[in-house]
């Protein structure tokens, strides 16, 4: 029975795709061929070249990846970079899958991707990592579709691919294929422990409100009043936020909606509004009938959440030292930190975990199902710790 597992990370901020790939590959310095490489790619790179280059360099390695809205490398948050997170060792088994969908077929696409679990030789601990197109439909469907296959025994982690807030198109990589409107997945099984942590740090500032009208990712009314009006009246933001979509998006990034679940609050990122119908547009469904809060966060609460997420993931390793971390960090959290202080989040994580190889990306939504049947989040940090 294999007992060794390792994580290596290579990164590059070269602007040329081939040069960035060469540098990132050189930085990996793996002791053997990795079982899995996750490629985190700034959208300006040529993804087919990266997918093909990885296949040529690591022909026996499973590869998934996606475009991001910012990358996280061992030294902290970076931008316009290519980051490769490599997982290997004889304790590890990996299979990968993908499913092509559209905004109506996300559930099916996620189910197809999750079927990579069928081929996995499962060991003591298993997790399904998923990367989906965050600009494509209700992301709750990704969790539901994957859960249809993974069921109660296999936790889900993942994030939605980004495009640096251009909100036009994200892409996903599976092997040599580059796709859009798809879900890609890696089933990771290990003889060693795997730990998962999730935390957001947002605090309700409004009274709970009944969601009286919503469908898919359109939130139409709260307490029978137009959702946009309720939102604007409560926060009373500057005039530009009321009329300009870009200004609104920036404001909403730090003022998400929380949904009350039994023992927690699940966050929903607001991406825009419809001035005619007075609806709020969210990344995932705010279920009709649920109780919702308007929330706020500040630098310290959001930073504390990073520590909490990291600590939870480490706790899952049952006392063993981590060999690496993977972070799915919401792009709007980066907005709270601002570019000057964004490094403080990764510094804090490093201070908790030691100098273990770490990588991740800024997402348009995070997936973490460890209990219950749901598990799509926004404005949240999900940490996967490899033991």
């Amino acid at each position: 029975m294999g007992t060794e597992s390792w994580v290596k990370v290579g990164a590059s901020t070269q602007t040329s795709t081939t040069e960035a790939l060469d540098e990132a590959l050189a930085g990996l310095q793996t002791p053997a061929a990795p079982k899995l490489v996750v490629a985190l790619v700034a959208p300006h790179f040529d993804l087919p070249t990266i997918a093909e280059g990885l296949h040529q360099a690591l022909p026996t390695t499973q590869v998934i990846g996606c475009t991001t809205s910012g990358e996280i490398a061992p030294d902290g948050a970076v931008a316009q970079a290519l980051v490769l997170w490599a997982l290997g060792g004889d304790a590890i088994n990996v299979t990968t899958g993908s499913g092509q969908g559209d905004d109506l077929g996300l559930r099916r696409a996620a189910t197809e991707a999750a079927h990579c679990l069928d081929q996995l030789d499962q060991r003591a601990n298993t997790v399904l990592m998923m990367l989906s197109d965050g600009l494509c439909g209700d992301q709750m469907e990704v969790v539901r579709g994957a859960y249809d296959v993974a069921a109660i025994d296999v936790p889900l982690v993942g994030g939605c691919a980004g495009d640096y807030l251009a909100m036009r198109r994200t892409r996903q990589i599976h092997g040599r294929r580059v796709m859009s409107q798809s879900v890609v997945a890696a089933a990771i099984s290990s003889n060693r422990p795997l730990g998962i942590g999730v935390s957001h740090g947002w605090t309700p500032v409004s009274e709970p409100m009944l969601v009286t009208g919503s469908k898919g990712n359109l939130l139409s009314s709260l307490e029978d009043k137009p959702a946009l009006d309720v939102y604007l009246n409560f926060f009373n933001p500057p005039e530009a936020v009321r009329t300009d979509q870009a200004a609104f998006a920036t404001f909403a990034a730090t003022h998400p909606i929380g949904i009350r679940r039994r023992d927690k609050i699940e966050m929903r990122h607001i991406t825009g509004f419809n001035p005619q119908t007075r609806e709020l547009i969210t990344v995932a469904e705010v279920p009709q009938g649920a109780l919702a809060f308007l929330t706020e966060g500040d630098f310290s609460s959001v930073l504390d959440a990073a520590a909490q997420s990291c600590q939870s993931a480490l706790a899952g390793l049952n006392g063993e030292e981590p060999v690496g971390l993977f972070l799915f960090d919401c792009v709007s959290r980066r907005a709270v930190f601002t570019e000057d202080r964004v490094h403080e989040e990764t510094d804090l994580i490093s201070s908790h975990c030691g100098q273990v190889p770490m990588a991740g990306f800024y997402t348009y939504g995070e997936i973490c199902r460890t209990k219950g049947a749901g598990g799509f989040h926004n404005q949240t940090l999900v940490t996967l710790a490899i033991g």
């Binding site: 859960y147 109660i152 649920a290 109780l291 209990k371 049947a373 749901g374």
Partner: protein
């Protein structure tokens, strides 16, 4: 005061029901589980799991085994699942399972209310689905043909109207209508039964669907009439499609042990802006009739001159219906001479139509309509009865006792199970000697439809009448049939007689037929003998009988009496052949 969160979750469950979503119940289960942070939700129906989320197949089996006891804790691989069972009506059950904390009182009450909501929603869903299905069925019934499932006339016309008024895509494409009619379908129905006819219709519809491109429309107008609406780049493409359909449908079809030989005729018309869909169909219909007139199993494209022809054909068809009842169908007789001694040996009965306006019409002017309309059977019997009646009288004259009669029997008459009875009645009422009666059938009829005609032929044998094979040499008779059936005479087709002395191939064919007839002990009649040279030649070749203008053209019974019979009455001199 914070409102009770659980009560509002009920509306979430109800909102999850969508009549558009086939995964409806699965979505509902997701929401039930998500609302109480449970890992598992399932709907049991009669003790079995209908829908389930969160459990592997192995765990689901374990759950089913314990469902009857409804335990509060169920051990699975991941730990102890705390259960909540909530009834949905008398038989069904909502199961919700959670790891970790047990369900508290409020959650249990909530889940029971959810179960009731799901039950009601399922009932509503079923009602809506059933109403939708009923609407769908009604629409299908109103717009599609029940037998083949193809769009019916109404839908064809709608689509055609839409194709003319709102052509989609490439402007250079033109809408073409192919009107497809199964040749001699009525006969196939009569001969093989309606079940076989239905099978043929289904077979043709399948071939048509396979032959056309995606986006083309195949419809059934009525009976044996099908339609294809296609968009083509040029007229040749429509012709090519017609050729392909004809070739594919020509393949024999086995139905209830019989092999059906069938063809289709196709008429093509092309749409122009502003055309009326019905006119376009009519045009294609006219072209189809033109294809039939050319010999069936063909196609023809519409030309404006066909409209006049179609009107004439239609009025002729209407008039033919009255002609049979009005006694306008008359019998002409053409003499038949024995060549060995140049004596009159009998007559062939031939049909004529004494049209009130157009005068005397030959069979070529109306037989096709008679075949298509089914009037041919009455016409066959009318001609036969009149000829039998005359010949029977003449057989009383000394020297004419063995006067023979040849009368044509069409394929449809031969396939008609009532034909034996009708012939029997005519033989008995007229008193003609059956052994002197030869019923002429074409070689094609004999071979193509052997399965359906064999019982009629055997019945005719019982009546002691014999068969003459008309137009012999133009088809593909099996020698076996000639031996097996009561065939007494082979008639050499006039096309071969015409070529005697001029065309060596015709000589060879005529010689072969005569050799064959001698081997099978059959008599041979040479048709179409028009001059002395032909007469000498067929005599040399050994033909038993001759028929043609040289001996006498077809004339009315009265004229026959005057020209051929009166001179043979005891007081008259014996008439000999030229």
């Amino acid at each position: 005061m914070e409102p009770s969160w659980s009560l509002h979750m009920l509306s979430e469950i109800l909102s999850a029901f969508s009549t558009e979503d086939p995964d409806n119940l699965r979505n509902v289960l997701n929401r039930v589980a998500e609302s109480v942070d449970a890992e598992v939700a399932a709907i049991f129906c009669a003790g079995q799991i209908d829908w389930c989320i969160g459990l592997s197949e192995a765990d689901q089996k374990q759950l089913v085994q314990q469902a009857e006891q409804q335990p509060t804790d169920i051990p699975i691989r991941s730990g102890a699942l705390h259960a909540c069972w909530a009834p949905m009506g008398n038989r069904d059950m909502l199961f919700v399972g959670r790891l970790g904390e047990r369900f508290d009182l409020e959650e249990r009450a909530l889940l029971r209310a959810m179960a009731r909501s799901i039950e009601l929603s399922i009932q509503m869903l079923r009602a809506v689905s059933s109403e939708r299905q009923a609407r769908k069925d009604a629409y299908q019934q109103a717009t599609h043909d029940a037998l083949t499932g193809l769009p019916n006339r109404r839908m064809v016309l709608d689509r055609l109207r839409s194709a003319i008024d709102h052509p989609v895509g490439d402007d250079s494409l033109v809408t073409a209508v192919l009107f497809i009619d199964i040749d001699r379908f009525k006969w196939i129905n009569d001969a093989h039964g309606h079940a076989a006819g239905d099978q043929l219709l289904i077979h043709v519809s399948r071939i048509l669907k396979e032959a056309v491109r995606h986006g083309d429309l195949v419809g059934r107008l009525s009976g044996d009439e099908f339609i294809v609406i296609t968009r083509t780049s040029d007229r040749n493409a429509a012709s090519e499609l017609a050729r392909r359909i004809i070739a594919r449908i020509r393949q024999p079809l086995k139905v209830a042990g019989s092999e059906l030989s069938h063809t289709v005729s196709i008429g093509i018309s092309f749409a122009h802006p502003g055309d009326n869909p019905s006119s376009l169909l009519e045009n294609a219909d006219m072209a189809m009739y033109r294809a039939k007139a050319l010999g069936r199993g063909r196609y023809a494209s519409f030309h404006s001159s066909m409209r006049l022809q179609a009107q004439q054909r239609l009025s002729l068809e209407e008039a033919l219906g009255h002609a049979v009842g009005n006694g306008e169908i008359t019998t002409h007789l053409q003499p038949l001479f024995r060549l060995s001694d140049n004596t009159l040996s009998g007559f062939e009965a031939l049909v004529r139509w004494q049209h009130p306006q157009l005068g005397l019409l030959l069979p070529g002017a109306f037989l096709e309509q008679a075949e298509d309309s089914g009037l041919i059977q009455d016409i066959d019997m009318t001609v036969f009865e009149a000829a039998c009646s005359a010949i029977a009288q003449w057989q009383h004259i000394a020297g004419l006792e063995h006067l023979r009669l040849s009368s044509n029997l069409s394929a449809r008459s031969l396939a008609d199970p009532r034909v034996k009875e009708r012939i029997k009645v005519i033989l008995e009422t007229t008193g003609i000697q059956p052994s002197n009666v030869y019923l002429e059938i074409t070689e094609t009829t004999l071979v193509e439809d052997i399965d359906s005609t064999v019982s009629t032929i055997n019945a005719l044998r019982d009546l002691n009448v014999r068969l003459a094979i008309d137009d012999f040499g133009t088809g593909y008779s099996s020698l076996l049939y000639l031996k097996r059936f009561p065939v007494g005479v082979l008639k050499i087709d006039r096309s071969f007689v015409n070529g005697l002395g001029m065309n060596p191939e015709d000589e060879v064919i005529a010689t072969t037929i005569l050799s064959l007839a001698r081997a099978l002990e059959l008599e041979v009649v040479a048709e179409g003998v028009e001059n002395q040279m032909q007469l000498e030649r067929i005599r040399e070749l050994g033909s038993d009988y001759g028929q043609g203008y040289l001996f006498g053209e077809p004339i009315s019974i009265g004229d026959t009496e005057r020209s051929f019979i009166a001179p043979r009455r005891p007081t008259a001199a014996v008439l000999t052949a030229p």
